[in-house]
């Protein structure tokens, strides 16, 4: 589904990604871990198409097409979703209105009929059975005055509603208490399917207790230095990132 080949990216004059290679197949859950400043969020932003990051080398193929050449909104329409680390507020715009506009943009792109308000409400009700959220949250303005936990829950609800094929979660677990963390994990687990892939970016192994990844990758200084199964996360938790950093340096 997704193939990242020798991806290099910079912001201003600083090179942050220094040659990332990764293949993600449908149904897989990949976790990317790494210390602060290693480039985890940059990778998420580059996949989503943030203009502040300049790709200097490499390719990102989604179903065989190089997505680096297409606009962020088109990437979203083709099924890439990013749950933001810091979701922004859009005052005065009702969450449901925003979601309907997003869903209809994506549906239109894919040649599907746009949902009328009534149909949309029905659709939302269905989704609410799977992903727990509140009416109140849907009526309020997009993320405005939401607590940290509410914002993350809202991201997961949006993800459920838009039904992307590739979900990129950018440190969705950071700053969450244990209850909110479980809610997020439940949401992700409910959405796991053979057609859908996840890239979960996280600092800690904590979330991975609830969402069990198929693969764990360690990102250090713009490169994936170690990959393994879920047990790698536990090992990291125990030994710290310095363990991989040192071993990668000694290997170099």
């Amino acid at each position: 589904m997704l193939e990242i080949r020798n991806l290099h990216a910079r912001v201003d004059d600083r090179e942050i990604l220094k040659g990332i290679n990764l293949v993600v197949n449908p149904g897989e859950v990949h976790s990317i871990m790494g210390p602060n400043g290693s480039g985890k969020s940059t990778l998420a932003q580059v996949l989503a198409g943030r203009e502040t990051y300049v790709v200097t080398e490499g390719e990102v193929l989604l179903d065989g097409d190089n997505i680096l050449e297409i606009e962020p909104e088109e990437r979203a329409c083709r099924g890439i979703f990013m749950a933001f680390q810091y979701p922004v507020e859009i005052p005065g715009v009702a969450n449901t209105y925003f979601l309907r506009m997003a869903l209809n943009s994506i549906r239109k792109y894919n040649g599907l009929k746009e949902l009328k308000p009534v149909e949309f409400v029905k659709y939302v009700k269905e989704k609410m059975k799977i992903i727990r959220t509140s009416d109140d949250l849907l009526k309020r303005s997009v993320n405005e005055g939401f607590s940290g936990g509410e914002k993350k829950r809202n991201e997961i609800f949006q993800m459920a509603l838009l039904e992307p094929k590739l979900c990129v979660l950018d440190e969705t677990d950071s700053g969450l208490d244990i209850d909110a963390l479980k809610l997020v994990a439940d949401g992700v687990n409910a959405m796991r399917s053979p057609e859908r892939a996840f890239i979960i970016i996280t600092h800690y192994q904590r979330l991975l207790n609830y969402v069990v990844p198929d693969f764990v990758h360690v990102l250090v200084d713009g490169k994936l230095v170690k990959s393994g199964g879920k047990e790698l996360a536990l090992e990291l938790e125990e030994k710290g990132y310095s363990w991989v950093e040192n071993s990668s340096q000694s290997a170099a």
Binding site: P72, E73, F81, F84, I90, F98, S141, L162
Partner: protein, 480 residues
Amino acid sequence: MSNTDVRVEELAEQEYKYGFVTDIESETLPPGLNEDVIRQISAKKNEPEFMLKWRLKAYRHWLTLKEPEWGNIRYPRIDYQGISYFSAPKKTGLESLDEVDPELLETYEKLGIPLEEQKMLAGVAVDAVFDSVSVVTTFKETLAEVGVIFCPFSEAVQKYPELIKKYMFSVVPYTDNYFAALNSAVFTDRSFCLVPKGVRCPMELSTYFRINEKNTGQFERTLIIAEEGAYVSYLEGCTAPMRDENQLHAAVVELVALDDATIKYSTIQNWYPGDKNGKGGIYNFVTKRGKCAGRNSHISWTQVETGSAITWKYPGCILLGDGSVGEFYSVALTNNWQQADTGTKMIHIGKNTRSNIVSKGISAGHGQNTYRGMVKILKGAQGARNYTQCDSMLIGEDCSAHTFPYIEVKNSSAQMEHEASTSKIGEDQIFYCKQRGISAEDAVSLIVNGFCKEVLSELPMEFAIEAQKLLSISLEGSVG
């Protein structure tokens, strides 16, 4: 350049949608202003003697005044002798639409005001002003049944001189300011409305008007009176054809609300704003004021200002009656080289009077947006309250927003609240929308409409939708 960028630029370069000039023979006075011109205007309009006297008085006063320079706006000097002060389509006073010049009807069509359809479907009475003289007025009968008078101002001068004598200049005297004095001398036409005691006007009243004759200044005059317990909602929307020269517009609107009466006055102003290099565009110097004369009367101004090269406009309320309420809701958008200096004046005189001000300024391109507001609590205004909220949004690097709130309190029991904010439309907000599949253009329009929500929700439904579209259109090309 990406596809979206190309599309946005294409749209931005589209010619002003309503930029066309109709070929209708009209009777136009040669440019210039003197007492003789004023006599001719009055004669052409068949006015009673008192009106001519008033006009001349106003003109003589105007000659003693200087054009105000305190506004935060820059424009070349206006040559008042270079303007023609009267222009009327030749045929007037027709009884039915069949008698109306077909070309004129076509113009309305282009503007999206098919009178017939509106008669049938919309339930909106339209007093359509074409240049200076009203040609067609619909729905008069329906209104007459409940005793509402709704007609062109010039008709009221002839038919209801006593009402005109009683109320004209009672809110905006001809001495009020430079542009009000000019208007009082040379005003042409617009609406007169009186809703009698206890009557709730059965429909939204609206006037569409546009500037059409080359070099013709527009000096419209409107007077609306709501008697005891009456209610009326008046909508005004306008567009103008494309021009190179700058055009002057100086309208005066007076509202009078008696005991327990309510007047809602909504404006969508979409006049030609000039091209993207700042060439051309309407100069809009407007004086609008309402007098809450009676107890518990209520006047509410709502405006969406997206057009004109220069906007100078402060719809205000004189809160004379005890317990009266004045409101001002405003969205002003300046793109390219547009300049707006707009706000309100709330004068609290009666006891327990309240005023509410919500102003949203949006600047894009090289646009310059100024909020200027005055809240005055006089000595006798025991228990007066004001709430002011004044928010500015900036799009891009070259625009600006300014705020000048004046507050004058002479009674210590007054409660005043003032909130202000300035925000930049964030690249992160736009990206967030894009990541959800929404295009940059739609994102900007979404964010701006959210920003203006409190004001737009004050507009009647069909106007609110039109206003939302207008905001989106006016912002085209503001994001790359």
